[in-house]
């Protein structure tokens, strides 16, 4: 029926079409000119031919050149200045822009399916642009966001390039432990969703290095990004329905600008090191601990394995193992070549980049290398009816590393451990007594990741008010990784040979996604009313294949890369999975007098991740804004340049549970018995779970003062996630650790976000702007039906954060036993789980950033401080009984309790004492192991010098020095306060030198 209706419209459409074809017959002329501000020429002003997408920017002298039809209007836009429209009459045009008014409010914000002007938006969206991203010498775009956006908290999992990140947008929404798809937002690159979820993109063999978490955005060159928008509240995310619960990250790549064909060369070299080592015990302190350990245990005849005491080792050696093992300088080189240009109708941008990132480990592989190509092509038909853009981003990233992080051995090795090498240059095993930390470096990890993102958007204007659009694309992400383990990594005393002990493993994970999204956009304006509507549909299909095989035993290590030559070949895992998703979405936006705005969005989603009765779900949101500065009462307040009150309420969801979880199946086991393959039950059967829902409420005030020199926003939000879809923990007696089901608990994430942007100075020669953001999140479990009877009784408390740890209450050291004392709540003289009564929140009180941008003549200086107020696990959380040979400890452990040092914080050393070991076991789980982990970090510093050399044809030469993670102020007891896993390499301090040449 509907189809017929549409066909009958054709006649009507055709009529409009004919009417609109005769508009083009003007003379095209070349216009040159200059744009001045109050105090001289303005650089970087956008000059746009109105009604087109043809534009240029002013060069270093404020000059521009553009071809435009006579009579057309040129629009001059520059941030912080009033835009101006000028008709093209003559071929020379001098424009003077006036400072401020409106300014930031005119920026267009991309919300995915549609875009809005900053002033008119009803949702909560944070944005950063290329200008800020380019300041950071980083590999992954997420690193460039850290500290720059309110409500967004990003944790880098490892300092090794090519690893993963945890991202939380407005707190933890889910009981799922982070990293297993817990809080991963939806990433969208130029309209294409890139899945970073449980089932796809997992590398198979990187568990030791990256815990198998590898960020999918490693395949995107940060310098190819024009802007990143993060959608936070219901109004902005509900149109993404089931996938928007954890927020949406929209990445827009750089598009070409019409005009001259521009070449850009960017080259930089970076030097990265571990910013700060932990203070560990030196040889003297270590030996003192060992002597004390044996004398405490009354041992005078040292056992065979006390190599330092019985003379097998020289106990007076000293090596700074941190310096030796993770103290290197990782050198990174980046080079990129870009070409962009085009004309009124067709624009292009091509950027090719090559980057290499070394490691801080000794004699390791090449590190992370990425080659990427971005091609953007935008075409507009002469009649302005067709609008086509094509984006292709392809990158090949390789990582060549030792298979394990050396940070743990660097911290643990005793300071008097033997030398790494024998005088003859061979690895030193000290007669088989020393597990040489460099030996595992022989076991290598390498990976090759190919990410292809290919997208097309075709738009067609049926009527001036109506257009249809088709967004379609494919993404392919394949990871191939390999672990090579030659027999030489083993202690030679084991007498292992390559025939059996050389092992080669290879894993492949191919994941493909295909999406098609037809849409209809309507835009109507009559008098004071303006109506925008959008109806669209999505069909998405993902498939992924996992395959891994292993070869054991090679006649020589020379063959180890070829599994086909192994004595035994084993196929470990063959697994395919499929995910399909279909949806219908809608947006209605109504504005009255551009003052009162109502925005309604909704989505109906279907996902293959649910059983037959639960495949579909509905989501929606209502947002509204009132621009009160437009009201008459505000017009008199000359200090108020802009004021808006906005709010939104709605629901979003999550289907991030992994595929097939509702099926009752058996899975093939590749571990053969008697040559027969096995079948085992895949999971506990539960077909009844359905979508989890997050209800989001937000109120915000945005205002600008003194001709937009001060721009501020204050937002309050409250997100409530219920019907949580998680793997509910079960006791091991049930046969499985968990079952996938909806969970009767509600988590609330509530908080305040404040942003402030001030233009402090804007003079001819110098300017100074400041950006500040702070977020105060609060996480709380507000309801949990049946908590007392559930398996979570000892994990969560209603009214407290879900980042909760139940701990023993630390009281000090017991003088009579010399052991730690903890509160014995049940008074039975035994400390056990019944006494784990103190619940400690690992909480984030606030986090934020302060950025200052200064420029003086040709110089520009930008620096960003990131600050976080939080508590986290400290080193006591991994503390073991001091006194053994295998582990060195922080220098603080020198402060051991003894009758002469009653204030000591650690127990006396013992060579073997189960009582002391147990006591440390309780300490690790006590409230002493959680403490302040707040820090202030000079996250980024960038100093640049820009000049133009017109005679050489050089439009812009930018020389810069950039630094990342330069300085950290913290009282944290551990290697780095930013992240949680103490055995991982911390984020590195980087200094980068580079230049950018545009001609």
């Amino acid at each position: 029926m509907k189809n017929k209706y549409n066909i009958s419209c054709i006649g009507l459409l055709w009529l409009f079409f004919c009417l609109s074809t005769s508009l083009y017959a003007q003379e095209i002329i070349s216009v040159q000119g200059r744009v001045d501000g109050a105090e001289g020429p303005l650089v970087g002003v956008t000059v746009l031919i109105k009604g087109t997408q043809s534009a240029t920017v002013t060069d270093y002298n404020g000059s521009f050149k553009i071809k435009a039809p006579k009579g057309a209007s040129l629009l001059f836009e520059y941030m912080g200045y009033t835009s101006q429209e000028r008709e093209v009459k003559a071929d020379v045009l001098i424009v003077k822009l006036n400072e401020n008014t409106e300014s930031l409010k005119e920026i267009t914000i991309n919300t995915g399916y549609y875009s809005v002007k900053e002033r008119e938006r009803t949702g909560s969206i944070a944005k950063i642009t290329a200008k800020d991203i380019e300041l950071s010498p980083v590999v992954n775009p997420l690193q460039a966001i850290q500290g720059r956006m309110a409500g967004v908290h990003i944790t880098q999992n490892t300092g090794i390039a090519g690893g993963g990140f945890d991202i939380e947008i407005r707190g933890r929404n889910s009981f799922r432990s982070s990293g297993v798809g817990a809080n991963i937002p939806l990433y969208i690159i130029d309209g294409l969703p890139i899945s970073e979820n449980i089932t796809a993109n997992n590398s198979l063999l990187s568990d030791k290095l990256f815990q198998n978490k590898i960020s999918v955005l490693n395949g995107i060159n940060p310098k190819d990004i024009e802007s990143i928008e993060i959608l936070k509240d219901a109004d902005a995310t509900a149109i993404y329905g089931s996938r928007g619960a954890n927020g949406v990250v929209l990445i827009t790549t750089k598009k070409g600008i019409a005009g001259k064909t521009r070449f850009t060369i960017n080259s930089s070299t970076s030097f990265s090191k571990v910013g700060k080592f932990m203070d560990m015990m030196n040889t003297q302190q270590f030996n003192q601990m060992r002597d004390e350990a044996f004398s405490n245990d009354g041992i005078t005849v040292f056992p065979a394995n006390a190599y330092d005491m019985n003379g097998m080792w020289d106990r007076n050696r000293y090596t700074d193992w941190q310096k030796e093992l993770i103290g290197g300088t990782a050198i990174s080189k980046d080079i990129a070549l870009g070409v962009s240009g085009g004309n009124d109708f067709t624009r292009f941008n091509v950027n090719l980049a090559h980057g290499e990132n070394g490691t801080v480990f000794p004699q390791s592989g090449k590190g992370f290398v990425r080659n990427s190509a971005l091609i953007n092509l935008n075409h507009r038909s002469q009649d302005d009816k067709w609008n086509i853009s094509v984006m292709a981003n392809y990158s090949v990233s390789t990582n060549d590393l030792p298979s394990a992080d050396l940070t743990t051995p660097a911290l643990k090795l005793p300071p008097n451990a033997p030398a790494l090498y024998q005088p003859n240059g061979k690895l030193n095993w000290q007669d088989g007594t020393f597990n040489n930390p460099l030996a595992p470096l022989g076991k290598t990890y390498d990976s090759e990741t190919r990410l292809l993102v290919l997208n097309t958007q075709i738009g067609y204007k049926i009527l001036p008010s109506t257009s249809i659009k088709l967004n379609a694309g494919v993404t392919t992400n394949s990871i191939e990784d390999r672990v090579l383990e030659p027999h030489t990594i083993w202690n030679p005393s084991f007498n292992r040979t390559s025939d059996f002990w050389s092992i080669s493993q290879k894993g492949t994970n191919n994941s493909d996604s295909f999406i098609i999204e037809p849409q209809i956009h309507l835009e109507k304006k009559f008098r004071d009313h303006s109506l925008k509507a959008l109806v669209g549909g999505t069909f998405q299909s993902n498939s992924s294949d996992l395959f891994s095989n292993m070869g054991i035993g090679f006649s020589s290590n020379a063959f180890i890369t070829n599994i086909g030559l192994a004595q035994m070949q084993i196929i470990n895992q063959v697994k395919g999975s499929e995910y399909k998703y279909a949806a219908l979405f809608i947006r209605l936006n109504y504005a009255y007098k551009d003052k009162y705005i109502v925005n309604l969005t909704g989505r109906r989603d279907g996902s293959s991740r649910f059983g037959d009765n639960n495949k579909f779900g509905n989501f929606g949101a209502l947002g509204a804004a009132w621009i009160f500065s437009e009201e008459t009462f505000a017009k008199n307040m000359s200090w108020l340049s802009f004021g808006k009150l906005r709010g939104s309420y709605g629901t979003t969801g999550s289907d991030n549970v992994g595929d097939y979880m509702y099926l009752d199946t058996y899975t093939a086991n590749t571990d053969l018995y008697d040559g027969l393959s096995g079948l085992y039950p895949s999971r506990l059967f539960n077909p009844n779970y359905s979508w989890e829902k997050t209800t989001k409420l937000e109120m915000a005030l945005e205002w600008s003062l003194f001709k937009n020199r001060i721009n501020a926003s204050l937002a309050w939000y409250q997100n409530r996630s219920s019907n949580q879809l998680i793997d509910i923990k079960l006791p091991g007696i049930t046969g499985f650790p968990s079952i996938t089901d909806n969970f009767g608990a509600t988590i609330q994430n509530r908080g305040w976000e404040f942003t402030l942007n001030t233009i402090n100075v804007r003079k001819k020669d110098w300017s100074w702007t400041t950006n500040f953001n702070i977020s105060l999140p609060e996480n709380k479990l507000i309801a949990f039906a049946g908590l007392e009877e559930s398996t979570y009784k000892n994990s969560y408390v209603v009214g407290k954060s879900i980042n909760l740890v139940s701990t023993y209450n630390y009281e000090g050291i017991d003088l009579s036993t010399g052991l730690y004392k903890f509160t014995d709540y049940d008074n039975n003289n035994i400390i056990n789980t019944q006494d784990k009564k103190v619940f400690v929140e690992r909480e984030m009180k606030f986090h934020g950033g302060l950025q200052n941008t200064l420029s003086y003549k040709n110089f520009s200086l930008d620096f960003l401080f990131q600050f976080v107020k939080q508590t986290n696990f400290n080193f006591d959380n991994i503390m073991t009984r001091p006194g053994t040979l295998i582990t060195n400890y922080p220098e603080r452990v020198v402060d051991r309790w003894s009758p002469s040092n009653l204030e000591g914080k650690y127990l006396q050393a013992h060579s073997s004492s189960s009582a002391a070991s147990n006591s440390y076991g309780f300490l690790r789980e006590s409230n002493r192991a959680i403490s302040d982990a707040s820090f202030i970090r000079l996250k980024n510093l960038s100093l640049g010098y820009q000049l133009a050399l017109p005679k050489l044809g050089i439009e812009l030469l930018n020389l810069y020095v950039q630094g990342q993670n330069l300085w950290t102020w913290t009282n944290y007891y551990g290697i780095d306060p930013e992240f949680t896993s103490i055995g991982n390499l911390p984020p590195l301090r980087t200094i980068s030198f580079g230049m950018q040449l545009t001609f």
Partner: protein, 456 residues
């Protein structure tokens, strides 16, 4: 005109496509992944039923419950092995309830039991096999379930006896007492006994037969102190013509030994060099040892002319120091001629002797034990021994015969109330070490598992 019309057609085409897409609800249907099979389908075919059982055997092979908790751990826990690792909870007797190996042992065992229960439920409801075959396979499953609990209850004491796959009930399930568990094990083993054959399914004896069930049943009666039944079932095995005591000690741990009741089909990866995991764990060639060696106590337990000392241990010396390693599995063969043995005939003699002694028939017991002793190059014991001395001799004999086999020594000492002997040898030994702690994580998840075992 055509040119102008064309784009509109395209536009309408897009519109139609969009409407078409939205209409299709079956666009979110997906197919089963390649490596999964629907549960009803598994139990409707002979081959897939066998595959489900095969998985249970591969679980069994990997289960360190039957292997002295893996890596010689239970042997280090007692006095058979000396550890050279820098921090060793078993060797130092400092295991706590939160140590991951404890929860691994617990969780993996119950996961394996789930697989068995799911197999029993699936097969009971299936008509795909002939009644006889169905009963035989079910018998094996019941036997394996009994076997898991037989070991679990010796290590953990009171435990839940899970026999269904209902996670709702099982997640709240309470414990059965040690004696109740033994009764339930007896019931499962009896069910198995009824339906299993004396003939082996496979010539390599890699699946249990009726005699294996009888042995475990006898071992279980030993725990229940029903010594007459122990005697009866042990005798059945001794009389069974399938089994002969090997006179050449070098043959006992070979795949083709006639003394073997049940052995594990080898892992693919162990077939080429070390044959069995045991030889990879215990053997070393240079000094000082980096992991484990036989302890002084164990070495002193041997008399110099004991053939087991000569054949089943091996000295490694550098001229100054000497250490011995277990040499039951030699692991030097390029073809798989050694299989990891679960039960062997000798045990039937030992438990028969033990049962006789507890029935006050000490002289008969001595005669049974002497059958083993004489084959090991030792003099027979005098039949005049009193019961207490005999038990001491028996335990020493167990130690010499079964060292580092499936945590034998710990279980033997425990069954005979002699764990306190270890206090003289192990500085950290306490009464509480008779049981392992219930994993702390489990106690937190299921209140009904409380109380924690004494002392933890």
């Amino acid at each position: 005109m055509n040119n102008l019309y064309a784009p509109i057609k395209k536009g309408v085409g897009l519109l139609i496509l969009s409407l078409f897409l939205i209409a299709c609800e079956d666009m979110v249907e997906i197919e089963l992944p390649d490596n999964q099979l629907n549960t009803p389908a598994v139990f409707s075919d002979k081959h897939t039923i066998n595959a489900a059982l095969s998985n249970i055997y591969s679980n069994f092979r990997g289960a360190f419950l039957f292997d002295g908790m893996g890596d010689g751990n239970l042997s280090k826990y007692t006095d058979e092995l000396e550890s050279f690792l820098q921090e060793d909870f078993f060797y130092a007797n400092s295991l706590t309830a939160s140590e991951p190996i404890v929860s691994q042992l617990w969780n993996l065992s119950y996961s394996d039991i789930y697989h068995i229960n799911a197999f029993i439920e699936g097969l009971e409801a299936s008509n795909a096999l002939e009644e006889r075959d169905k009963k035989a396979l079910l018998g094996e499953a019941y036997f394996l379930r009994g076997l898991y609990y037989h070991y679990l209850t010796q290590l953990f004491g009171d435990i839940p006896y899970v026999t269904t796959t209902d996670y709702k009930a099982n997640s709240r399930i309470g414990k059965k007492t040690y004696l109740e568990v033994l009764d339930l094990v007896e019931k499962d083993l009896k069910t198995a006994l009824e339906s299993m054959d004396n003939a082996y399914r496979h010539p390599d004896r890699i699946y249990p037969n009726k005699a294996v069930v009888e042995l475990v049943l006898a071992k279980n009666y030993l725990l229940q102190k029903r010594f007459d039944l122990v005697e009866q079932y042990a005798q059945n095995i001794i009389d069974n013509p399938l089994y002969v005591l090997e006179t050449d000690l070098n043959k006992v741990f070979k795949k083709s030994a006639f003394s073997t009741l049940w052995q594990r089909s080898p892992y693919d990866i162990y077939q080429t060099e070390s044959n069995t995991p045991e030889s990879a764990i215990y053997n070393f060639t240079t000094l000082p040892p980096t992991r484990i060696a036989l302890s002084n106590t164990q070495m002193q337990a041997f008399e110099p002319n004991d053939l087991r000392l000569q054949q089943w241990t091996k000295e490694v010396t550098n001229g100054v120091d000497s250490y011995w390693h277990v040499y039951k599995y030699q692991g030097l063969f390029n073809a798989p001629i050694e299989y990891s043995i679960v039960f062997r005939l000798e045990e039937a003699y030992f438990i028969k002797a033990e049962a006789l002694a507890y029935q006050e028939k000490v002289s008969d017991a001595v005669n049974v034990l002497n059958e083993i002793r004489t084959r090991r190059g030792l003099m027979g014991l005098p039949t005049t021994l009193n019961k207490a001395d005999f038990i001491t001799e028996l335990l020493a004999e167990y130690q010499r015969e079964f060292f580092t086999e499936g945590g034998h020594r710990f279980l033997d000492l425990k069954r005979n109330n002699r764990l306190q002997d270890l206090e003289l040898i192990k500085p950290n030994w306490e009464t509480k070490h008779a049981l392992l702690p219930i994993p702390e994580s489990e106690l937190l998840l299921n209140e009904n598992l409380k109380p924690q075992n004494y002392g933890y």
